[in-house]
């Protein structure tokens, strides 16, 4: 039961919110590259925000449903189709037994999320269903989905309240050039003023070395004050490390928990989805933002997600109210 993969696609993995609490033992958190699209997918099918879903990369899989369920596809527009007929992104869709979901080709973005009502039934490893391929950990057999794999559902649904209203305006992902807001630090003093100006003024190009672990950029070298190394310390989602070569690397979902290169800044959480949906060759520009602004933007995004959830399930609105995030000072 559940789903059978006729084709695995280019890189399809099971992800949930991520594996937290184990970075102190050297385990990368993994989780979705585009957290916002991932969460919106779950909301559309009535799941909690952190429920397991599929992350699909550029070339989608072909999936045969062995039982009916409600699904939603968010993130990149890869022309999803059911039995050859196109279905909309960002909308809950009831899929019947023996239906086949396939993807026609990439229109925009890089990574799509397929959320299933009730989530996917894969083992929970260290508190998470997220796949970390590098360590053969979690998800489906610790690896990307292959042709012929099958995955069971946890609790499939053939009905959801307000099914026809469960739709959102699709997010547009811009091509060729994107702007990312960056909070300076933690080691901006490891760079010359020249180096920092160069980073913020001139931007960089996304190289072909762009995977779930990190995104290597191409630009004329960013100048270090010292030798381009620091005492190894913690790494965050979006940390912009600059190795001695002067070519930055933005650390992403499968990042190592620690690193020994100075970090000129960290991409604001709300802008990471834009990077996750960008392709090699795109130009990046960086705009400096304060920590206060970045945190306010993040809290607004959480409020937006809560509002979306409330709009789908008006009857539990009151319950939700209690855990609406409190924003300090706003």
């Amino acid at each position: 039961m559940g789903i059978l993969f006729h084709k695995g696609g280019m890189l399809t993995t099971v992800q949930d919110e991520g594996r937290f609490g184990y970075q102190q033992y050297g385990v990368s958190p993994a989780g979705p590259m585009d957290v916002r699209s991932f969460k919106l997918g779950n909301l559309l099918v009535g799941n909690r925000l952190s429920e397991s879903a599929l992350e699909v990369t550029v070339v989608g899989p072909e999936i045969c449903f062995k039982e009916a369920n409600v699904i939603a596809i968010t993130g990149a527009d890869l022309c999803p189709q059911i039995n050859g007929a196109e279905i909309p992104n960002y909308q809950a869709v009831l899929v019947q037994k023996d239906d086949v979901l396939s993807f026609g080709g990439r229109r925009s973005g890089m990574r799509a999320y397929i959320a299933f009502a009730g989530g996917l039934d894969v083992p929970v490893v260290m508190g998470s269903k997220a796949t970390l391929i590098r360590s053969s950990l979690g998800g489906a057999w610790g690896r990307a989905i292959k042709d012929g794999d099958d995955l069971p559902f946890c609790a499939p649904k053939t009905f959801l309240p307000n099914l026809s209203r469960r739709r959102l305006p699709p997010e547009r992902f811009f091509a060729n050039e994107i702007v990312l807001r960056v909070i300076p630090g933690p080691q901006e003093d490891s760079f010359t003023l020249q180096g920092i100006r160069h980073f913020f003024w001139d931007g960089a190009k996304i190289s072909s070395e762009f995977d779930r672990m990190g995104c290597r950029l191409e630009c004329s070298p960013i100048e270090h004050r010292g030798d381009g190394s620091i005492i190894t310390d913690g790494v965050a989602f979006g940390s912009v490390q600059v190795p001695p070569s002067g070519q930055p690397i933005i650390m992403l979902a499968d990042r190592q928990s620690t690193g020994g290169y100075p970090k000129i800044g960290t991409v604001a959480s709300v802008d990471l989805p834009l990077l996750a949906q960008a392709m090699p060759g795109y130009r990046l520009r960086f705009v400096q933002v304060s920590i206060e602004t970045a945190q306010m933007l993040y809290c607004r995004q959480l409020n937006y997600l809560k509002d979306v959830q409330r709009s789908f399930t008006p009857h539990i609105g009151q319950q939700l109210e209690q855990w609406r995030p409190k924003i300090e000072g706003y």
Binding site: D233, T258, I291, Y298, P325
Partner: protein, 247 residues
């Protein structure tokens, strides 16, 4: 006790206790790490110790950056070192030389000592674990006496098997998984540093110590058999913290 707070994006802050790799600094890192684990705050997602700083991953919707700094500063000011701090030592059985310890003889030659002498020195004291990182269960250890100055291999090996005990300069380490490595391999441990079959997969923690125990081929095989079945129990004991003796 002073600490610097470095902004690592909108969901993490790095608490830096110093700018050198030394035990005094690392012990402060571990004290804050333990404090936040023992008395957790709902706004904190997880903490990651490294040599001289503690990365605090947090939820900005619960605690903003300024409040987080205040909270951490308070915790730091409250930290007190236990009077007689005890340290955990884990014994790691090692088969020196042989198939996986292919650099043992070359290393002994380089130092102009016998392989027996090298093993005696290598297994002669405890190693402090500063942090884990790079791969699940991968320790970053240090030694404090400095009798060795082994060079890194000119060409890193594309593959060293998990369990390899490796040395470079005055450092020694164990690899939990197969990986490329430029260090000299002098032996192999059958003990698993990370075993996903176990409820808690990791053998070692930051802030603990390890000691290498030489074993012969027969003991090695016996331990390996048990370890492969998840049955082997390493020997652990408490010792009094060495503090001022170390550099």
């Amino acid at each position: 006790m002073s600490a610097k707070f470095l902004i690592a994006g909108d969901q993490a802050i790095s608490v830096q206790f110093g700018e050198t790799i030394c035990m005094e600094t690392n012990r402060q890192v571990m004290m804050l790490h333990h404090n936040l684990q023992e008395y957790p705050h709902p706004g904190i997602l997880e903490t990651v110790p490294s040599y001289s700083s503690l990365m605090v991953h947090y939820h900005p919707e619960i605690v903003g950056c300024q409040t987080m700094k205040t909270l951490l500063a308070e915790r730091i000011s409250q930290m007190k070192e236990a009077a007689a701090a005890m340290a955990t030592v884990t014994e790691i059985p090692v088969l020196y030389g042989g198939e996986y310890g292919m650099d043992l003889e070359a290393c002994a030659r380089q130092e102009n000592i016998s392989t027996e002498e090298l093993i005696r020195i290598h297994a002669g004291h405890d190693y402090y674990i500063y942090m884990l990182g790079f791969a699940p269960g991968h320790p970053y250890t240090a030694r404090f006496a400095e009798p060795f100055t082994y060079k890194r291999l000119a060409t890193p090996r594309a593959w060293l098997v998990g369990g390899s005990v490796v040395i470079v300069e005055n450092l020694s380490n164990i690899l939990p998984f197969d990986q490329p490595c430029g260090w000299n391999s002098i032996g192999h441990t059958p003990v698993k540093l990370c075993d996903y079959q176990k409820e808690f997969p990791f053998l070692l923690k930051a802030g603990e110590w390890i000691r290498f125990i030489p074993v012969d081929e027969k003991e090695y095989q016996a331990i390996k058999k048990q370890a492969d079945q998840g049955q082997y129990q390493v020997r652990r004991y408490q010792k009094e913290m060495e503090s001022k003796a170390v550099k």
